[in-house]
Symmetry: C2
Subunit: 347 residues, 2 copies
DNA sequence: GCCACGTTTGAGAGCGCTCCCTGGCGCCCG
DNA sequence: CGGGCGCCAGGGAGCGCTCTCAAACGTGGC
């Protein structure tokens, strides 16, 4: 039952059920075109022997692996320490499970790893790849895109804008930012500052664009470039207050920097939201709910992004072997998920 | 180069290099016992053709997979939203990479998944498993332990205490807790409260034990069971202050609950650390450094735990194929990593 | 009652690789 | 200078599975 007793093979099951290997194979893979009594007999034999198909042998002939690589490029540790990827992984995992696929996690550390990952992906060990790349100058996505592996990107890649065959899933960063800023405007605020994220990330750029969409002709000095960290948020607010002492609202590009902003505002004696209204982005719960006051922010459904990425990669493939392998690429080249404004106390 | 052009096989490389398949195989797998000029020729052919071994074919005969499953049981979403697993995964990933192994991530959602994971693991798709189980009543670890797959647990499992063949890696929760409480005592504090974690987790239990080790004969009413969350920490502090208004220190079982404690103390007009000193556990940076005041806490090297788990699982196996497959199990049944007290402003 | 056709089942090849074993060759020693 | 030994390369089997193809088995219609 346990130990080194080598696992039963198809052959063994066939012998036990008194049929041929081919028949067992058919039953194991869906049982189409096998008469009921035989199906039953085979099923029982499988059960009794505790047969589990040898995936290696199967892959060898089918050239399918029922496995998908998830590549997370991680130039900074910070990125990895937030719940973002965790949630996305969850979504991915759920969807892959539904498709009987495994999740092979590839974390890259520095440039050398690109080679390793590239080799792995083009080595045909997986059916596809889900790639997260946050930085515009990251060579990895390009590499992968050239590796000839079906790929879906998480977040809008910074290059190949109009390229038809790049598939990605992103949230509506720009639209979400617009909603946030419009909300501030609706509150009667006029001197609205924006704390950006690192502008080598498309999400930060898109949020900035959304801000600009609403504040057309606004004072460019009300935009301070920052880095998605609480400390950066603090610095940015100090800068903003210096440039514009009667600032009455802040839109921070993420919750972390918003939390820093909150702290700096309190320290400077500004009441939130009375004097200055604050809105963040992400709705990262441990942060957004715990700030003082709780943060109004833009929520994105991160887990759903993950699910969608997996679904897109697996294409029209139904939960196991049915249907066409892949709808010939008329997939949308970019899918953008909606965001919603979550009102709490800060604005 | 790209596209569907089927990848080159050993055969192709052999033809190109003018040698036999066997020779190419030898070269690819270390090149022992092949004369230099041939090695060179084969290497070049591999390079030119962009040959990558077919892992499925290889596994089929070697019965090795160069892959390790990482199983994360996740009854609560909260658990996953903290950076803990992320860091551990990093450590694991690094070590596996060094051993040319892949990381197959298995996230479980609810009971049904146990079956799936069990089948997968006993299906012989991976060389071993790294399992994280946080709760005492989780049936998963038991299941896996019975599946006949080499396994290393992350964190002390709640059962099979003395069992010789259970291998796990944990931090020194008890010792770390002792250090923290001793530090408070050294500060002259005498009315020290403890906010525990969920006591169905061994880490929480061990930290409580450490607290008790130092506070022998202490008032049991100074121990409040909580849940590792900020909100729980707040509640616990209110409870503690009610029971003991002149409380002068709090040891919280993790940083998150410590942050809640900090807030509740401020709200109740207690100054930290003047009136009440506070120590957390984990040194979860985004939290510990950002609290007001910054949190004194117990650091554990989470990434190293991950590395160690992987190293233990892979046994004495050197970076690829050399050495014995596995030192016959005289491995230590539990490895406990040291913790260090990180002094910041809160105590 | 017989033949043509559709449906099930079985036989066999082969996926790409490793590894055992044999054959060939150079070299050392007698 | 010849025999034996050791080292290196190649041949070939076979890992467990899928999938094509052909055989066997009905079944219905004429």
């Amino acid at each position: 039952m346990s130990e080194t007793a080598s696992r039963p093979t198809l052959e063994a099951v066939a012998a036990r059920a008194g049929v041929s290997r081919a028949t067992v194979s058919r039953v194991v893979n869906g049982g189409e075109g096998v008469r009921e009594p035989l199906v039953e007999r085979v099923r029982r034999a499988v059960e009794e022997l505790g047969y589990v198909p040898n995936q290696a042998a199967r892959s060898l002939v089918t050239r399918r692996h029922d496995a998908v690589a998830v590549v997370i490029a991680e130039p900074e540790t910070r990125v990895f320490a937030d719940p973002f990827f965790a949630l996305q992984l969850r979504g991915i995992s759920k969807e892959l499970t539904a498709h009987d696929s495994q999740l092979v996690l590839l974390l890259t550390e520095g440039r050398d790893d690109h080679v390793r990952v590239g080799r792995y992906l083009s080595g045909g060990h997986v059916d596809g790849a889900l790639v997260f790349s946050l930085h515009l100058d990251d060579p990895l996505p390009g590499l992968i895109h050239g590796a000839g592996v079906p790929t879906v990107f998480g977040g809008r890649p910074g290059w190949g804008e109009g390229t038809r065959d790049i598939v990605y899933v992103d949230s509506d960063n720009r639209g979400g930012a617009r909603d946030a800023v419009r909300h501030l405007v609706g509150l009667g605020r006029t001197r609205i500052g924006h704390i950006t994220g690192p502008l080598d990330q498309t999400s930060a750029v898109d949020r900035l664009e959304g801000f600009r969409d609403v504040m057309v002709g606004g004072d460019p000095r009300l935009i301070v470039e920052s880095d998605f960290t609480p400390a950066g948020g603090e610095r940015a607010v100090r800068e903003l207050l210096e440039r514009c002492p009667d600032l009455d609202a802040v839109f921070a590009a993420n919750d972390l920097s918003a939390s820093g902003a909150l702290r700096a505002l309190r320290e400077r004696g500004r009441r939130v939201p009375d004097d200055v209204a604050v809105i963040g982005f992400d709705d990262m719960l441990p942060v957004a709910e715990q700030t003082d006051p709780p943060l109004t922010t833009v929520r994105q459904d991160i887990e759903e992004m993950g699910r969608l990425m997996a679904r897109l990669l697996l294409g029209g493939r139904e939960p196991r072997g049915t249907g066409p392998e892949r709808e010939a690429g008329n997939a949308p080249s970019g899918v953008v998920l909606p965001t919603t404004l979550v009102r709490r106390a800060s604005a």
